[in-house]
């Protein structure tokens, strides 16, 4: 049984049912029934047209379920008539699913779960494992999400920015359990990029590919963080970098800049540098200036201060940092780094220890504690 094939077909089968007028939750149930049937029947009797088989079975299941409820009969007749409207490209249906699953009426957590379920074809258990919550909790989250969007009609395109935000959330969850959410996010964004022509979709795909290319070198086998400057560049995935840069250049050529393209441009400049010392920090600062114009996010300004510190020296970096709210996440860590580069090791050690206390995860805390320890270990206890 080819699980990858089933997962790749799921969104378009679901999309077709919904386009024919099936209620989202009912369509989802019907498609799941069809998948179970496929697992049972296909090994002995493989279909010639897998997708057609799934659509037929799922639609029959949907009609059966609908007929069971007398109140739904009239709606069934109505949507049955609509089904004769003619063929539509499969990619179009999948695209509608992306918009539905990222609908603004959903919370980000629900949108992510529904996207992974409906577009990604992951099981509830796989999604629950990835988010470290009980399967029952994730099942409820998905059911509520389905109910929330069940009245939404598929008649106009949604907001691409919302879909991209959801996919980026999935990407940033990274890897846990047996599902690699970063790889899954890349797969879904590829699918989206094939279905829709939009520079920011390309920008996000490029950004994901460029980040993903460095992933193996970002931590040691025991989970310790490796800073960018110390990563083994020989182990970066050059094919992924080349693909990301190509996609980015095509997007930038269309002259409709957005924040994902700008972030991807920064990632590309890092990926391009043969050594950390050869990084083009001046150009990176220029991209951060663009990004600040596009988003005006405090986190972007913080990252810009780091880049300024590299391009114009630690004093300039500290001056840029002084303009920012010191309660920002990682503000103290950045200050520690810039003070160390400026030669003030006592202040740097104190700030690294303080930053460790505020770190949002264990890997960062351990990394910052080691930085403080490295500077403190130069002096006797």
């Amino acid at each position: 049984m080819n699980e990858a094939l089933l997962r790749s077909l799921t969104p378009s089968v679901l999309g077709i049912l919904v386009r024919r007028g099936a209620d989202f939750a009912a369509a989802e149930d019907a498609v799941q029934d069809a998948l179970v049937e496929a697992v049972r029947v296909w090994p002995a009797d493989p279909p010639r047209d897998a997708k057609g088989w799934l659509v037929t079975v799922a639609w029959r299941r949907f009609l059966d379920a609908t007929r069971a409820d007398a109140a739904r009969r009239r709606r069934e007749d109505r949507v049955d008539a609509e089904a004769e409207a003619g063929p539509t490209p499969a990619t179009d249906d999948t695209l509608q699913l992306y918009f539905l699953c990222a609908h603004p009426s959903l919370t980000p957590a629900s949108a992510v779960a529904l996207t992974l379920r409906a577009v990604g074809g992951l099981t509830t258990r796989q999604i629950a494992d990835a988010y470290l919550v009980p399967e029952a909790t994730m099942g409820q989250r998905i059911s509520r999400a389905k109910r929330t969007v069940s009245g939404v009609r598929f008649d106009r395109p949604g907001d691409v920015a919302t879909v991209l935000r959801v996919l980026y959330l999935v990407f940033n969850e990274g890897y846990s359990g047996d599902v690699d959410l970063s790889a899954e996010a890349i797969r879904l964004t590829r699918q989206l990029a094939a279905a829709i022509d939009h520079p920011e979709v390309a920008g996000l795909l490029a950004l994901m590919l460029l980040h993903h290319a460095r992933r193996a070198t970002r931590t040691t086998p025991d989970g310790s963080l490796v800073p960018l400057a110390e990563q083994d560049r020989g182990r970066w995935d050059t094919a992924s970098i080349a693909e990301g840069v190509g996609i980015l250049q095509a997007a930038l050529a269309r002259d409709r800049l957005g924040e994902f393209q700008a972030q991807a441009a920064i990632a590309a400049l890092h990926a391009d540098a043969p050594t950390a010392g050869e990084t083009d920090w001046v150009q990176i600062v220029e991209w951060y200036d663009e990004l600040t114009r596009l988003t005006d996010s405090p986190v972007v300004r913080l990252n810009r201060a780091v880049a300024v510190g590299e391009a114009d020296g630690p004093r300039a970096g500290l001056a840029a940092l002084a303009a920012l709210d010191d309660s920002l996440p990682r503000h103290t860590a950045v200050a520690a780094y810039l003070h160390e580069r400026d030669g003030d090791l006592t202040t740097a050690a104190r700030l690294y220890a303080e930053a460790a206390g505020r770190a949002p995860n264990l890997a960062e805390r351990a990394h910052l504690t080691r930085q403080a320890a490295r500077l403190n270990a130069r002096r006797p206890h």
């Binding site: 025991d222 989970g223 949002p360 504690t369 403080a372 320890a373 270990a377």
Partner: protein, 135 residues
């Protein structure tokens, strides 16, 4: 089998014997400490005694319902007398003796100069469901 919670404290526990703050260790000592904890958990997975472990952030807030229509009362950040949990590990073991033994091992995690911290670990049994009457 009985479940126990092993609690590490940021503060509130008695001072350990080898009381050097982590950022005063060498980076190698920090790494050795973390590896000890990871190996400990991995070994308990192997013996079937590990349930779960999580670290907690140093900041916390107390919140209390204070009547209809009133904002909740909080008294965080923590006052200096207050106990503060750093993280916990849940184990499922055959006996209280085994739980004490494991808490002792966790307390022996290496710190400065590679010597055990002698950190105080709080051991708390879980409330269990009433036993099924079989007689």
């Amino acid at each position: 089998m009985a479940k126990y919670l092993l609690l590490k404290h940021y503060r509130g526990a008695p001072a350990p014997a080898n009381n050097v703050p982590m950022h005063r260790w060498t980076p190698e000592e920090v790494t050795a400490h973390i590896r000890y904890m990871q190996d400990f958990a991995a070994r308990l997975e192997g013996t079937g005694e590990f349930v779960d472990a999580q670290a907690l952030a140093p900041e916390g807030t107390f919140v209390r319902y204070d009547g209809e229509g009133r904002p909740p009362v909080t008294d965080g950040p923590f006052a200096e007398t207050k106990d503060l949990i750093a993280g916990w590990m849940m184990i499922d073991v055959d006996s209280h003796e085994r739980a004490v033994e494991l808490a002792g091992e966790l307390s022996a995690a290496p710190g400065a100069d590679g010597k055990p911290i002698h950190e105080w670990i709080e051991l708390r049994p879980f409330m269990a469901a009433p036993p099924t009457i079989t007689e």
